[in-house]
């Protein structure tokens, strides 16, 4: 049991590292929140 839990935990942490290491890919990624806000802002501004 100890070996199973240890292996599971290490594998989980390594997968988390692999996922976070690619900030624009995978499950955990940077979303374009700032750019979406910029799109809304720029399209709402008058552009004569």
């Amino acid at each position: 049991l100890q070996v199973l839990v240890l292996t599971f935990l290490i594998a989980l942490v390594l997968i988390a590292i692999a996922d976070i290491d690619r900030p624009y890919q995978g499950l955990v990624k940077v979303e374009p929140e700032g750019f979406l806000f910029a799109v809304r802002t720029l399209h709402s501004q008058p552009n004569p």
Binding site: L6, T7, D21, P23, E33, F35, L42, N47
Partner: protein, 213 residues
Amino acid sequence: VLNNVLIIIACVSGAVLFLFLVTRASTAPSRRESNDFTGAVVAVIGTTYAVILAFTLSGVWSMFQQAQANEEQEANAVVNVFRIATQLQDPNAKPIRDLCVRYVDNTVGREWAMMEKDQMTPEGAEMINRLWTLAGESQAHAQPDAIAAYQLMEELRGLTQYRRLRAMQSREHLPGILWTVLIVGGIITVAASCFFGVPNFRFTFCRCWSSPS
């Protein structure tokens, strides 16, 4: 998600297989005799590995947060360029504002999807180059708008820098040697913990669950 689950199942299966081989190759009493030695080895290897793992996780999380902050700053710089351009009394002001709108549309609509494949659109870089050309022309003949033109160049400098950082963060990953250390370290740590001899499985099982620490 499926890939990650399969990797975890493969790792746990490999550990179980190794544990099975160890129990077949040696008797429990013989392993129990060397529990003190195995404990010391596992403590040293486990602690070293835990430190490496914790620092790596902390490092990549820090990089992730920097990528988030960089994205916000880049978006903010485009909005600032647009807003400064609205203050300019210059024929280039309208093309600059149009380019800002096209830049954010291109980034959200196309570039973000392409960055999942480690790629950036060439249009983004071309728009930045065009913005520099227009801002340079504006500054050259911007006597009444000298301050605004200067601020425009400053924001454009920030925009270019944040874009380059985003491209770098999308491209750069942990080096292979570090992955080797993490994977080999994990295998050694798990393998070392397989050499413990347990006197009574039920007793050990209950003890593990009642006081995991």
